[in-house]
């Protein structure tokens, strides 16, 4: 743990802890998880449970091994595990998902110093590793085992041109092929609104992200810009991944830049790229740029001089 420097009062007091923030995030993800249970069957929920358990276990094991303070009880590993599981299709073999968990928790989170030190979103790297390693397993979308009658198909993004407005409801309720947690737009919206109401996240990043993605997709001549918002992982990414405290800018203006930038990237990848989905790449690339965005949008304290230079010297 780093040394804490107590500055001059007044100090902000808050009852918020990492643990209850993460608990709120877990609650917010519940609608999507439950919806996936209806859509894809029990296996989807099983995958979510296994993934969170594995992540918590990995974090606990690693911290014990490295003789660090154990931070499993802050629930951040559970959130990461749930997000990893939400990004895989229901037919994913369990050991493959565990590879994603290892990449997320060990590679990105623990090796860089644990919670608060990861430079990109752990769950997205988990997804990326799985995508590059098990390309076919990650893109075999099926919904056949669910209560709702669904058939194996490409994600709506892969055949966006074939969609009509009549299929909007299907898309909104998630009755189509896709990863576990990203198909049901309604459930994700409920979770996102819960997070905003509980003031866990500010609505700036999701709104900028979704809005700019819509505008740029339209400008680039993508098919069905509005439809594309509800398809793929955009909503899930916008509410649960792009808003991660550690890997998003601190200032409000920074959040706007970040949101618009990743929206732009997502639209570029979706319209011009060879991958049908660009959310993962866009958010990860945005994450890497966050320190620079923070530097650019540094705010001036009231009555103070611009603290940039002093800060650097003080750091040394």
């Amino acid at each position: 743990m780093s040394k804490q420097i107590v500055s001059v009062s007044p100090h902000i007091r808050s009852s918020r802890t990492t643990q209850n923030i993460m608990l709120d995030v877990i609650i917010a993800m519940m609608p999507a998880v439950i919806a996936s249970g209806f859509l894809f069957g029990f296996r989807a929920i099983l995958l979510v449970i296994i993934s969170s358990a594995v992540c918590a276990l990995l974090e606990f094991g690693w911290e014990k091994m490295m003789k660090k303070p154990v931070t499993v009880q802050d629930l951040s590993a559970v959130v990461t595990g749930m997000l990893v599981a939400m990004n895989v299709p229901v037919s994913m073999p369990i050991w493959m998902m565990i590879v994603g968990d290892i990449a997320a928790i060990i590679l990105v989170k623990q090796l860089f110093g644990g919670l608060g030190c990861n430079f990109v979103n752990p769950a997205l790297v988990g997804r990326l590793v799985m995508m590059f390693s098990f390309a076919s397993a990650m893109t075999t979308f099926t919904g056949s085992s669910g209560i709702v009658d669904a058939t194996t198909s490409a994600t709506p993004l892969a055949n966006a041109g074939a969609l009509g407005w009549d299929q909007f409801l299907t898309l909104f309720l998630g009755k189509h092929g896709g990863a576990i947690g990203e198909t049901c737009a309604l459930a994700i919206l409920i979770g996102g609104i819960y997070l905003i109401v509980r003031k866990v996240i500010k609505p700036i990043i999701p709104l900028c992200y979704i809005g700019s993605c819509l505008v740029f997709t339209f400008l680039f001549g993508g098919q069905n810009p509005v439809m594309q918002i509800f398809a793929g992982g955009l909503l899930c990414g916008a509410f649960f991944m792009a808003t991660d405290y550690v890997t998003s800018p601190i200032t409000n203006s920074g959040k706007v830049i970040f949101g618009v930038f990743i929206g732009f990237l997502t639209a570029v990848i979706r319209v011009f790229g060879t991958y049908p989905e660009g959310v993962t790449f866009a958010i990860l690339f945005g994450n890497v740029l966050v320190p620079f965005i923070n530097d650019l949008t540094l705010t001036k304290p009231l009555g103070g001089i611009f603290p940039k230079k002093e800060k650097k010297e003080a750091a040394k």
């Binding site: 590879v99 590679l107 590793v129 590059f132 390693s133 098990f134 390309a135």
Partner: protein, 235 residues
């Protein structure tokens, strides 16, 4: 005798060309996908390194200082061409596995670096030992990384299946996996060196004699007795 041994082991641990001096990383990342390829590359590089070190050490008084780099390259290229022709004739599989990286040994930083830093300043015997040590250091690292990458990434070892069919983690055998394993190997070696209490000197060609050194490096200020802990690891 002890000094000679030190020249030899220097290349394997303390000044490992790949993990400490960070030379020749390109071929390590590219070739360490399969163990057989890595082994071939390691042997080829060790051969070139030893031979070029010997010849350059023999010629060190004749080679004019101003054109030494072209001279080194001519010597190195000779041996690389030799190796390439032999491999192409007798081991066509290995030749296709190594591809462009075999002729690229000509400009491999390790070979040129040892010629410039060591062989052109030391006797033939010392240069031979240095070349051998550095070559073995390179081979150990590239084969080590290849074993891990082939086993974890593909489930095979020397083309024999160890982990049952259907197991494959593509990213480990792709480029990102190479970088990851490279980083892990580097961390492991530094960890072991620190554990052994050996002082870690990240600078190339640093002989620890700060008085005669023109470099105004950071370790010069911090490298005072009693502050060894802070002087460690600055790479």
């Amino acid at each position: 005798m002890k000094e000679k041994l030190k020249i030899f082991t220097n290349g394997i641990f303390k000044e490992n060309p790949v993990l400490i001096l960070l030379l020749g990383c390109c071929s390590v990342l590219a070739i360490s996908v399969t163990v057989s390829g890595a082994l071939g590359m390691g042997v080829a590089l060790t051969f070139v390194l030893v031979c070029s070190n010997i010849v350059i050490s023999l010629l060190r008084k004749i080679i004019p200082d101003k054109v030494r780099i072209p001279c080194f390259i001519v010597v190195i290229a000779t041996f690389v061409t030799l190796v390439q022709m032999v491999v192409e004739a007798f081991l066509p599989d290995l030749h296709s596995a190594l591809g462009v990286f075999l002729p690229l040994i000509v400009v491999n930083c390790i070979v040129l670096g040892r010629a410039e830093l060591f062989a052109s300043k030391h006797s033939v015997g010392d240069s031979f030992l240095d070349g051998l040590g550095m070559g073995i250091g390179y081979t150990v690292v590239i084969v080590g990384i290849a074993v891990v990458r082939e086993l974890i990434g593909n489930g095979t070892l020397l083309d024999k299946r160890i982990i049952p069919e259907g197991y494959q983690i593509g990213i480990i055998s792709q480029t990102p996996g190479g970088f990851m394993m490279f980083g892990f190997a580097m961390a492991l070696l530094v960890y072991c060196l620190r554990k052994k209490g050996k002082k870690f000197e990240p600078r190339i060609g640093c002989d620890g004699k700060c008085g005669s050194c023109r470099e105004n490096c950071e370790s010069r200020i911090t490298d005072l007795p009693g502050q060894d802990e802070t002087a460690e690891v600055k790479s």
